[in-house]
């Protein structure tokens, strides 16, 4: 369709909206990306706009699963001792071009080395560009983990690790591990505009960057030279629409084809509406209440268990999540491999809970519950949740005081080992690996930091350490399943909920798959005529 014809059709169809132009997929996104260099940021909104459409990674997650597939690396090999990983790179992959830059060579090992070196090496000229803080790179312990990266030849790269680390291959599929062009970076450095790497992105992904108007719209065009399955639509448009009700109106009016994060209150109406399709899946997250297991009487497992039995989780799902959640019994979500479905949750039984507390000789118990001041997928309203818990605990004679702090303060203060009270918090997975939940949130290393329960169980920790160095997934899964049993017996947390992620779209949208890792990916989404 020529441009002129598209515009004429557009004029005609203004009231019908975008549905007339089948070649452009319009996604109503919830916010603006912070930039387009994924390694600089940690927000999902930024990754949706950068990492997924524009870039590739050495390995890729199969969309809709946490399974790891070859990406820019055609294959990889882990040495016997687990300390060296060798990637064989794909040949004939082209980087995008823009007004300032046309690549003169294909993707090769130099690009891989550049993409990581700039994050870890303070002497790399790009280390300080755009105020680089490389938060994800650090928080995945890459600086300690990667000893060196070597180029063997143009299409072979070796990562030397300081310890065996099974989740490393999955880490390479994460957003911070997006592969950028070294040639482009060098050209921009020479031109004195290194920040262009973040503002005018060049990748190898299925879409090329066309334009961004802050807080309004992002435009992408199909990369016809893409090495893998080419995108199904000619152009992809992100219409930035911060208000959830307005996004819904836009989908109804045909101004968008697809939207994320509907209001939980609207979901039922969307399901009833025949002209709208709603997809759902459990999110890769968990919301929990972490007791301080170092402070009496919460160092007593039976006290913790009694409190767990007092919480009516179903009402929390109904009231706080308005149905868009699922009761959690394990610290990892059900979409994750090694999820132990045989574990039984503590039943809701206030009478038994009361008796249990009496048996332990605990009387006039009072407890502070910390409620987060922000909305999170795993906890849409922490204040309300805390109030429900307060009412539940009152039934067993436990007096609850709700406290809250500003978000930054909250995160800091809740780390303290002598903290007074139980903390409402949660976690969203990074790489689909159980280690990313269990070790980060419950490992002995995390006491005084991310392990808000201050819980260090040697048996549990030993299983995690053992699983971390194995490369066979089924052996690892077995250890994690056992770890979940110990977790349930010891009850450092009350596991509360996993959110349910909804995606709302018009019926003409074809091939959309909800991705458990949380990204919104349109690389293989099409529109029926």
């Amino acid at each position: 369709m020529s441009l002129k014809y598209t515009l004429a059709a557009g004029l005609l169809m203004t009231t019908l909206g975008v549905s007339a132009s089948a070649q452009s997929l319009v996604y109503c996104s919830e916010g603006s990306p912070e930039g387009f260099d994924p390694a600089l940021y940690t927000a999902g909104t930024t990754f949706d706009a950068s990492s997924h459409p524009l870039y590739d990674h050495l390995t890729e997650f199969k969309v809709g699963t946490t399974e790891v597939l070859p990406g820019l690396a055609e294959s990889w090999e882990v040495s016997e001792d687990g300390m060296t990983v060798t990637f064989k790179l794909r040949e004939g992959v082209q980087f995008h071009a823009n007004d300032q830059f046309t690549p003169t060579r294909d993707f090769n090992a130099d690009d891989v080395i550049f993409s990581f070196d700039r994050q870890g090496n303070p002497d790399n000229p790009y280390n300080q560009v755009s105020g680089g803080t490389w938060e994800y790179f650090s928080s995945m312990s890459m600086p300690d983990l990667v000893e060196s990266i070597e180029k063997v030849d143009d299409y072979t790269v070796v990562f030397n690790l300081t310890r065996p680390e099974a989740p490393f291959i999955a880490n390479m599929a994460m957003d911070f591990a997006s592969i950028l062009s070294k040639e482009y970076a060098d050209a921009m450095m020479e031109a004195g505009t290194p920040e262009m790497l973040n503002q005018q992105p060049i990748g190898t992904g299925p879409f090329t960057f066309q334009a961004y108007q802050k807080d309004a719209v992002i435009r992408y065009l199909r990369n016809d030279e893409y090495w893998g399955d080419k995108a199904k639509v000619e152009s992809l448009i992100f219409a930035i629409t911060p208000d959830a009700s307005v996004r819904y109106q836009k989908v109804q009016a045909g101004e968008c084809h697809i939207m994320a994060y509907p209001n939980p209150a609207d979901v039922q109406a969307m399901k009833d509406d025949e002209s709208i399709v709603v997809m759902e899946q459990e999110g890769l997250n968990v919301g929990y209440l972490a007791y301080n297991t170092k402070v009496a009487p919460f160092d007593n497992v039976n006290v913790r268990k009694a409190l767990n039995m007092a919480i009516d989780k179903q009402s929390i799902i109904d009231v706080v999540f308005q149905g868009s959640g699922q009761i959690a019994k394990n610290p990892i979500p059900p979409t994750m491999w090694s999820y132990n479905d045989a574990v039984e949750d503590d039943a809701y039984d206030p009478e038994a809970a009361k008796a249990m507390l009496a048996e332990e000789g605990v009387e006039d118990l009072s407890l502070k519950i910390w409620a987060m001041p922000v909305q999170r997928p795993y906890n849409p309203n922490a204040r309300r949740m805390a109030e429900l818990m307060q009412a539940d605990m009152a039934k067993i004679g436990v007096d609850v005081e709700i406290v809250s702090y500003e978000w930054g303060e909250y995160l800091e203060r809740s780390k303290a080992e002598d903290r007074d009270g139980a903390v409402l918090l949660g976690w969203t997975g990074d790489n689909g690996d159980p280690d990313n939940f269990l070790a980060v949130l419950l490992g002995c290393d995390g006491v005084g930091a991310a392990n808000r329960a201050q819980w260090c169980n040697e048996e549990f920790d030993a299983k995690l350490q053992e699983a971390k160095v194995l490369s066979d997934q089924s052996e690892r899964a077995k250890l994690y399943e056992e770890a979940q049993v110990i977790f349930k017996e010891e009850a450092p947390w009350a596991t509360i909920a996993h959110s349910v992620v909804y995606m709302t779209m018009r019926p003409e949208v074809e091939g959309y798959v909800v991705h458990p890792l949380g990204g919104h990916i349109f690389n293989q989404v099409g529109l029926s005529q």
Partner: protein
């Protein structure tokens, strides 16, 4: 008149320094550390914290930071956004035209409707029209913006399909920003229908943003008119048989304008800084939403720079209003 302008301009200097200091200290007085907020649930080690703190310069004494900020501002450097890593100045001027365009439209909307409504209500004091108008104005003034906007969207965009839901122009039109003002850019682009689309996109946000100023202006005009209509010179004008149109339109309205202009001037400040809700609902890429996002992220450079720029705009508008007093009332300019 020149002295009057100069004396007004001189008051600019202390106000400017005051605003700089306030915008700098207010955001820092809020609890919450930008580095901790950035790390979120993932957290970061003490060493990493120290490293980042040094990188952003937050480890230095506060007065050193302020001095650097102030000297930067005087040289036209407002710093770089902590989040997007782009200069605050660039970000502001990329977004400001959108806010200005919407605010000007809302202002025109509220003046064009508010002034005549107030005059008519005053002239018909106590009659049905007056009562109906003032009750409507009260409703308009007390209406929650959020609810009002959604109601309009559901009725006019959803049910009737007359206006688009949100945004500045239909996504089918694509042209680079020339001025940042969509009404101008859409004409300049030469694309058929682009201007019409831009206008349609402006209708609902203009009504929503203009509702409160409209109510305020209508009420203010009415009460100012009532006061003037009770003056002796109006009675004299009536007694000598001057036509009511001339009395109301020229003698009364002009004298009633001083308080009305004050209200309009104050509304401009409210519009510029207070378009936050309207901008959020209509996905309008302006400075309101940008500021709010930055406050939540504790993006110090953006908050302090943005506040400063908005304050300067409001100061300029107030100066203009002061000048207008002089134009309308010669007594003021001679003082």
């Amino acid at each position: 008149m020149l002295n009057y302008v100069l004396s007004r301009l001189l008051t600019f200097i202390p106000t400017f320094i005051g605003v700089t200091l306030i915008s700098f200290s207010f955001i820092r007085a809020l609890p919450g550390d930008p580095i901790v907020v950035m790390a979120g649930e993932r957290g970061l080690s003490a060493e990493r914290y120290a490293e980042l703190s040094a990188q952003f310069g937050y480890d230095r004494p506060i007065y050193v930071q302020f001095w650097e900020y102030l000297t930067g501002v005087l040289q036209g450097d407002l710093g770089t956004s902590f989040v997007t890593k782009r200069p605050v100045w660039d970000e502001f001027f990329a977004l400001f035209p959108a806010t200005l365009e919407l605010s000007v439209c809302a202002m025109i909307f509220s003046i064009v409707l508010g002034l005549p409504a107030g005059v008519i209500a005053a002239v018909n004091r106590g009659k049905f029209f007056d009562r109906a108008l003032m009750s409507t104005a009260l409703v308009g003034y007390s209406m929650p913006i959020f609810w009002w906007a959604l109601l309009l969207i559901i009725v006019f965009s959803g049910n009737l399909g007359w206006t688009p839901v949100s945004g500045r122009i239909d996504l089918l039109y694509y042209f680079p920003d020339a001025t940042g003002f969509m009404l101008i850019d859409s004409i300049a682009s030469g694309q058929d229908g682009a201007f019409r689309s831009a206008v349609l996109h402006l209708v609902l946000p203009t009504i929503v943003l203009g509702t409160i100023p409209l109510a305020v202006i209508a009420r203010q005009t009415r009460s100012a008119m009532l006061e003037v209509l009770g003056e002796d010179y109006i009675r004299t004008a009536r007694a000598k048989g001057m036509s009511p149109g001339r009395i109301n339109g020229i003698h009364a309205l002009r004298n009633a304008m001083i308080p009305v202009i004050t209200v309009i001037g104050l509304s401009v400040g409210t519009l510029l800084a207070g378009a936050i809700l309207t901008e959020t609902i209509f996905s309008w890429p302006g400075i309101g939403k940008w500021m709010v996002d930055s406050i939540f992220r504790r993006d110090y450079p953006v908050v302090q720079g943005g506040l400063l720029l908005i304050a300067v705009m409001v100061m300029v508008v107030n100066l203009t209003v002061d000048m207008l007093y002089g134009v309308i009332n010669p007594k003021i300019r001679k003082r």
